[in-house]
């Protein structure tokens, strides 16, 4: 009987531990909030040299978003299977062009996209269909999407990167993309660049 009791206690301890893990997963189900840091997101350094230069990265392997050499990063969580993401794609491309054509902010704001549940092939289809000029990253098994609280798409996260390497989220937005100019204005204000 004593042996049975020990096994039950062991199960109970393991279960409490598991509940703890589940609780952590549930906490990750909350979308990233303004004022917080980003969840841990490891992205592959792009092979394309232009994209690598755009992000100010070097070498190979993985990087974290705050390592991008800029003052603010706009992260769009999208899917090639998402009708709103498809509809917004030309407008987000326009945002990229507005930034790149303005020498005052060209190197201060960067855009990346993360394809929730999309394979490399699927991300490339989206990139090619809409001529997306900024780097897109696959998230085939939803790892990043889960870390970001399984947000609906498109979801925009604006991250301010400080000179000391720290960072914080300064804006998040589900859908409702207002067009390139209003969104740029919003990003400039939220990130303190204006």
């Amino acid at each position: 009987m004593k042996r049975v009791g020990e096994i039950q206690i062991l199960f109970a301890v393991m279960t409490i531990f598991f509940i703890g893990l589940t609780g952590a997963a549930l906490a990750a189900n909350k979308p990233p909030q303004k004022g917080e840091g980003l969840p841990v997101i490891n992205l592959p350094v792009p092979k394309n040299p232009d994209e690598k230069t755009y992000l100010g990265l070097s070498g190979i392997g993985f990087f974290k978003i705050p390592q991008i050499k800029t003052s603010a990063v706009i992260v769009e969580i999208f899917s090639m299977y998402c009708p709103y993401c498809q509809k917004d794609a030309p407008g987000v491309n326009e945002l990229y062009r507005l930034i790149e054509n303005n020498p005052d902010i060209k190197n201060k704001i960067k855009i990346i996209g993360i394809g929730a549940g999309n394979s490399s092939y699927e991300v490339e289809v989206f990139k090619k269909t809409y001529n997306v000029p900024f780097p897109l990253f696959p998230d085939k098994d939803f790892t990043i999407h889960k870390a970001c609280g399984e947000v609906r798409t498109p979801y925009f996260i604006v991250v301010k990167i400080n000179e000391d390497g720290t960072h914080q989220i300064v804006h998040t937005q589900l859908g409702g993309y207002p067009g390139a100019e209003p969104f740029l204005e919003l990003v400039l204000k939220a990130s303190g660049l204006k």
């Binding site: 206690i9 109970a12 279960t15 409490i16 598991f18 509940i19 589940t22 998402c82 289809v125 939803f142």
Partner: protein, 201 residues
């Protein structure tokens, strides 16, 4: 005795919490907002195929949401055909799948293929659902009546009356060249289908 019940209780609560936290990562687009019915995780497959690769395809004629009737035979000798059966309108994975195909028209054309989307839903339901996907370039067919008859002939009608999430590639001669009866809970990767079409070249 009371002491023994406590660990059991914790165990049960722990096990239940696993199910509560199972993520549903499809049907994510904000276009659908609260209109997607969450089916939960379903039995991956629930039917037995009645055709195999190399067989001549069963023929059918079905109504499309455009009002036309589409027959498989009209593509014989002209186009490769991809049949995309999806289980039901307004459900998570299905609501993702066709919008993705909708931006891949060029790739289907590159392989001289047409796509036919099929569900067992009726025309009005399909009309309302696909209106959320922008303008689909491919015909969407209703296998509603006799209910699921075409799905049944291919062996992809599930016991609850919806179809499997299944892809069939049919060559210009009318032979089945690829079958993917996919786990109903997951979206088939686009590259797998395209690689099947590549083999028809």
């Amino acid at each position: 005795m009371e002491k023994k019940r406590f660990p059991h209780f914790i165990l049960i609560i722990g096990a239940l919490s696993v199910f509560v936290s199972v993520p549903m990562a499809f049907g994510l687009s904000d276009v659908y907002k609260g209109n997607i019915y969450q089916t939960g995780t379903l039995k991956p497959m629930d039917s037995k195929l009645k055709v195999k690769v190399g067989d001549p395809t069963p023929h059918f004629t079905l109504p499309a949401i455009s009002g036309e009737k589409i027959s498989l035979g009209q593509y014989r000798g002209k186009k490769n055909v991809v049949l995309s059966f999806v289980p039901a309108a307004w459900t998570p994975v299905c609501s993702d799948q066709w919008p993705g195909y909708n931006i891949a028209k060029d790739i289907f054309s590159q392989y001289d293929a047409v796509l036919l989307g099929i569900t067992v839903d009726n025309i009005p339901t399909l009309f309302a659902w696909t209106n959320q996907m922008d303008q689909l370039w491919f015909p969407v067919l209703s296998d509603f009546w006799p209910h699921g008859a075409v799905a049944k002939r291919y062996g992809v009608l599930r016991s609850d009356g919806v179809s499997e999430r299944a892809l069939f590639v049919i060559d210009k001669k009318g032979f089945i060249r690829y079958i993917d009866v996919h786990d109903i809970n997951k979206r088939p990767p686009l590259e797998d289908l395209m690689s099947a079409l590549e083999k028809l070249k």
